[in-house]
């Protein structure tokens, strides 16, 4: 029997992988991919809660998240393209001008 706990633990694991990816990847594309993992983990939790509570609001939110994620990826990729044009690199730690 698969319980809510199993889903949540799976979601937590995916979320942690995503976090570590965001923190440690130097490649901006990998950071974006990890971000998708974060979103997927939270989507999984939403759907699990929705299923076990019999409340469809969770599923509704997941659709919104997918929508926003699509938009976010579009903008993120655009930024990566611009960054490459400007700096000829997509290493995140080369972006040091975003300060003061």
């Amino acid at each position: 029997m698969i319980t809510l706990g199993n889903y949540l633990i799976l979601g937590g694991i995916i979320f942690s992988i995503g976090l570590i990816g965001v923190m440690t990847s130097r490649n901006v594309l990998k950071v974006l991919l990890s971000l998708e993992l974060l979103l997927a983990a939270s989507n999984l939790s939403f759907v699990a809660f929705s299923k076990f509570n019999g409340d469809y609001a969770g599923q509704l939110i997941v659709f919104f998240v997918i929508l926003v994620a699509a938009a976010e990826v579009a903008i993120g990729l655009a930024i990566v393209v611009l960054m490459y044009r400007r700096l000829s690199t997509i290493q995140a730690d080369e972006l040091k001008e975003m300060k003061w």
């Binding site: 995140a92 730690d93 972006l95 040091k96 300060k99 003061w100």
Partner: protein, 636 residues
């Protein structure tokens, strides 16, 4: 019945003239003087009409009209006028003598390129002075009191390019501020005390009924504080120093402001608010002695002065002292009577002096004049009338008014009588000196080269002289005391005092003739007085003491305060705050290192903290919040 509209017109006509000149006629010499004269004459005519209206009824009517000006919860300030016999007489003096002097100024200031500015100031002064006379409450009075101080400052420093004139203006202003501080304290104190059930008030008419209910000691303090204002404005000792220097201004200004009207405002204030002073014997005694000492000191100083205007200034001081003394002795009537006659003859003397100065191209030293009598007959004769009136020779106006004061002193306080009589004798002596040196004998050899240039002044200047001379001559016979104070029965003249003071006056003149009647180039008195003459030359060292005080004591305090302000308040507190925020900003900005992932880390840590806070695990919160600190120090 008094028509209030006439009073308002009399009140504001000079202000309108002043505004018109300032706005449109600053370039037109001719029309500006005409506008100013029209303004003051309008005032004068309205005052005359009001005068006849007031004295139509018996007893003379009083009229008060107030507009609400500032209205707060506990504080009501009105703008209005209170016209009674005392006020209308003072108003007539101000506008009447003022008109004469305005007309005279048209001649005197003819050659001055900035005379429109002069007439604007003069009109402003007339407006402020009328304001003092008519005010029906202390706040309005104080406002006009300050305006008068301002216009006095502007007029003393009229020739501002001359450093001595600019300095004299500043000196007058500062000395008056000093005294006005006390005056303002007195006003506020009186206002604070004035609540006996109907709320506080500044109105004279309300205060009259309040005074009897007040604590006598507090009332004495209030009266003395109010008297501070008089000390400054009427130049009593120890704040008399400004009046002598104020002679740097144009001569008509000296005549109008520093002889006839403004300096008399202090006396008028005492008389108008006499109800405050009357119950307090201590205050009255103090006032009387202040006046008497001023009177004597000024008379002594006048003997050693060589500048024609400064001699007259000392004489003004001396006469003001007499008036203050009269009020201190409980005689507002005698004081105001002397104020009136003094306004006539002192304005006359100053205008006469102005006429001489005008003819001699701004020569003011009396030892360079000599024999003006034959050159300038009208000025000479009118000046002689003024001199005799000032000395108190029968039957001129000065005799009657001065005799009233002397008789009052004789009956009440013999010490004060002796001081006043000595001052009167000295007055006769120094005025005799002035007259014999400047007008007597043959023309001075110094002026041989422009002998024929010295001639009588134009009609526009001599007419006011004649007008004032007539007033000075007959001032004792037109019943001024009864007009001022209709409720007081006229007193018979005290024959004993009258004879003694006449003898003293004649003796003073005779002495003056004995010493100065002969021709001489320098002052024969210098040798006779010896060391004392030096003391007189230094004006009893008042200025030096004040200068020493300012340089050594006040300056040190000021420097100390400056240090306190610059180094401690600005340096430590304000500057400290700046340094603190700059330091912390410098330290904290290293957190913002521009690396995207470190931002993400902080973001995640924040999320974790929030989570821990929600499950109330405070120990873990502590541990987690150490992480960014550690990171921070690693990055720095």
């Amino acid at each position: 019945m008094v028509n209030p509209l006439l009073v308002w017109i009399a009140f504001f006509a000079p202000l309108v003239a002043c505004i018109l000149i300032t706005l449109f006629f600053l370039k037109c010499k001719n029309s500006s003087s005409l506008i100013a004269i029209a303004g003051i004459l309008t005032s004068f005519v309205c005052s005359c009409l009001v005068f006849t209206q007031i004295f139509q009824t018996s007893p003379p009517s009083e009229l008060q009209q107030s507009l609400s000006w500032i209205h707060l919860d506990a504080l009501t300030i009105n703008f209005g006028f209170l016209i009674n016999p005392l006020a209308i007489m003072m108003l007539l003096i101000v506008t009447g003598v003022g008109s004469a002097i305005f007309i005279y100024s048209r001649g005197y200031m003819e050659e001055d390129p900035s005379s429109p500015r002069f007439f604007a100031y003069l009109s402003l002064f007339a407006f402020s002075m009328i304001g003092i006379v008519l005010s029906n409450n202390f706040i309005q009075l104080f406002m006009f009191w300050e305006l008068v101080g301002l216009s006095s400052y502007l007029l003393i420093g009229f020739w501002y390019a001359k450093p001595s004139a600019a300095d004299a203006g500043v000196k007058a202003f500062i000395v008056n501020r000093l005294s006005d501080f006390g005056f303002l304290c007195g006003i506020i104190m009186l206002w604070g005390l004035s609540d006996i059930g109907h709320g506080r008030s500044f109105q004279f008419t309300d205060l009259v009924s309040v005074i009897p209910h007040l604590d006598p000691h507090l009332l004495t303090i209030t009266a003395l504080l109010l008297f501070c204002g008089v000390i400054g404005k009427s130049a009593q000792i120890p704040l008399h120093v400004w009046l002598i220097d104020a002679m740097e201004g144009p001569t008509p200004v000296s005549a109008l402001i520093h002889a006839a009207t403004m300096v008399a405002a202090g006396i008028y204030l005492l008389a108008r608010t006499y109800f405050v002073f009357e119950p307090s014997t201590t205050a009255l005694t103090f006032i009387a002695y202040t006046g008497a000492i001023t009177s004597l000191m000024a008379a002594i100083l006048a003997v050693a002065e060589n500048d024609i205007k400064r001699i007259l200034a000392y004489s003004t001081l001396s006469q003001l002292g007499l008036m203050v003394m009269a009020l201190g002795l409980g005689g507002p009537m005698q004081g105001m009577f002397h104020l009136t006659t003094h306004a006539f003859f002192k304005a006359l003397l100053f205008l006469g002096a102005g006429s001489v100065i005008y003819a001699l191209h701004h020569e003011q030293n009396i030892w360079k004049m000599r024999g003006l009598f034959s050159k300038m007959p009208i000025t000479g004769i009118t000046f002689l009338i003024g001199t005799l009136a000032l000395c108190g020779i029968w039957p001129l106006s000065g005799f009657w008014s001065k005799d009233g004061i002397l008789a009052l002193a004789f009956e009440n306080n013999f010490v004060l009588y002796l001081i006043a009589a000595t001052a009167s004798g000295l007055t006769a002596f120094y005025m005799g000196r002035l007259f014999f040196v400047a007008f007597w004998g043959k023309a001075n050899t110094h002026h041989k080269k422009h002998e024929h240039e010295v001639h009588e002044s134009p009609l526009v200047m001599t007419l006011p002289l004649i007008f004032l001379a007539i007033l000075s001559a007959i001032g004792g016979f037109i019943g001024i005391p009864q007009l001022l104070f209709p409720q007081i029965a006229p007193e018979a003249i005290n024959m004993k005092v009258a004879i003694i003071s006449s003898v003293i006056a004649v003796l003073g003149l005779v002495f003056a003739y004995a010493i100065y009647g002969k021709r001489s180039e320098t002052d024969p008195l210098v040798k006779k007085l010896g060391g004392f003459y030096t003391v007189l030359q230094n004006k009893f060292y008042f200025d030096m003491v004040y200068a020493w005080y300012v340089d050594n004591i006040q300056q040190n305090i000021a420097l100390y305060l400056e240090h306190l302000e610059k180094d401690i308040i600005i340096g430590a507190f304000v500057g400290g705050l700046v340094k603190l925020s700059r330091f912390s900003g410098n330290a904290l900005r290293h957190l913002q290192n521009g690396i995207v992932q470190s931002y993400a880390l902080v973001f995640i840590l924040g999320a974790i903290l929030l989570f821990l806070f929600l499950i109330k695990s405070y120990a873990l919160i502590f541990v987690v919040s150490l992480i960014p600190l550690l990171l921070f120090f690693m990055l720095v």
